[in-house]
Symmetry: C2
Subunit: 167 residues, 2 copies
DNA sequence: CCATATAAGTCAACAAACCTGACGTAAATC
DNA sequence: GATTTACGTCAGGTTTGTTGACTTATATGG
């Protein structure tokens, strides 16, 4: 709060400014999910399947409990989607290396292919936005987004950007 | 593409970088909606109600069709939520000033109070993230987010930020 | 004036993706 | 050996979305 130009500082925290920040998130998320959703619909799957496929691909060998923590859903809800993905050959599971109660999840070749297909559009969208906005803007984007995320999950992005206020 | 330091340009568009961009959106949206969802659950409402209340508050006198376009849902889906909000006294409607087929929607006093209560946390979250990240980062955030949003809706944010590459 | 188009609502049936609560099984740990 | 942990499952319920068909009221163009 004690900062240079406190008037300006206050100015851009006004209602309109904050509403814009909220709406940017709403519209971006809406458009970000629309295309994968359309692809998934043809495969009789939904957004929930995409999330599972994405994070299993992101963290090969991830445990079911970790996935629950990331997705913030109940195990019953995850189970329906995950067991379908396993049944249809997109995901495999095997016992944990030291703790055999665990199920370590991985994508099959088909799963990897589907993941690529689904995320392709999102990556292109991010790449285009990054390219158009420029490197400095990308840095700002990350910094603000990290601030929006609960502290517990910020650690996932270590090294993503310099700490805010550090320069 | 033809840019200064093309090596670096390419470097930060790598897979890891893009995945981070995707995940930031996922986690931010997840945490952004969690608290309002909790409040709504106590009122036997859901996220869909919040979206309607938010945008009716944002654009008083908005027509039903406009709302459909923003939310990207069918009128049957909106109808269920909207008619409940009208029935319970959060939203009112009256015929359009020139075209009497239209229903111009507005929040009642109760609706405004609920809107404030629901959005309060989101505004605080955005304000905190903006404050921590600094003005330059906020500019970058907006620029990247605009790039993620389909072109058709970017016009909603005119004046939100300088055009990308303009400086 | 009349045909057509538009804004909005409604009925019906259905699916996706969440939820709570209770209970089961296997393996690890104290 | 009792307890805890990781995971799964059965059962039942809600919200939020869908498609398709039909209605009402009003505006508009020929």
């Amino acid at each position: 709060m004690a900062d240079l130009k406190p008037g300006v500082q206050h100015l851009y925290l006004r209602d309109e400014e904050l509403r814009q920040g909220i709406e940017l998130l709403f519209y971006a998320y809406r458009d970000f999910t629309a295309e994968p959703d359309a692809i998934l619909a043809k495969l009789a799957m939904g957004r929930a399947h995409h999330r599972v496929i994405y994070f299993v691909g992101r963290y090969p060998g991830i445990r079911v409990g970790e996935l629950l923590g990331i997705l913030r859903v109940t195990k019953q809800s995850l189970s329906r989607v995950l067991s379908q993905l396993i049944r249809e050959g997109y995901v495999t599971h095997r016992p944990g290396p030291t703790d055999r109660r665990e199920r370590r999840l991985e994508l099959t070749a088909a799963g990897q292919e589907l993941e690529r297909k689904l995320t392709e559009n999102q990556r292109a969208r991010v790449a285009a936005a990054y390219r158009a906005a420029g490197a400095a803007a990308v840095e700002g984007y990350k910094r603000v987004m990290l601030g929006l995320i609960n502290e517990a999950d910020r650690a996932r992005f270590v090294g993503a950007t310099a700490p805010a206020r550090a320069r």
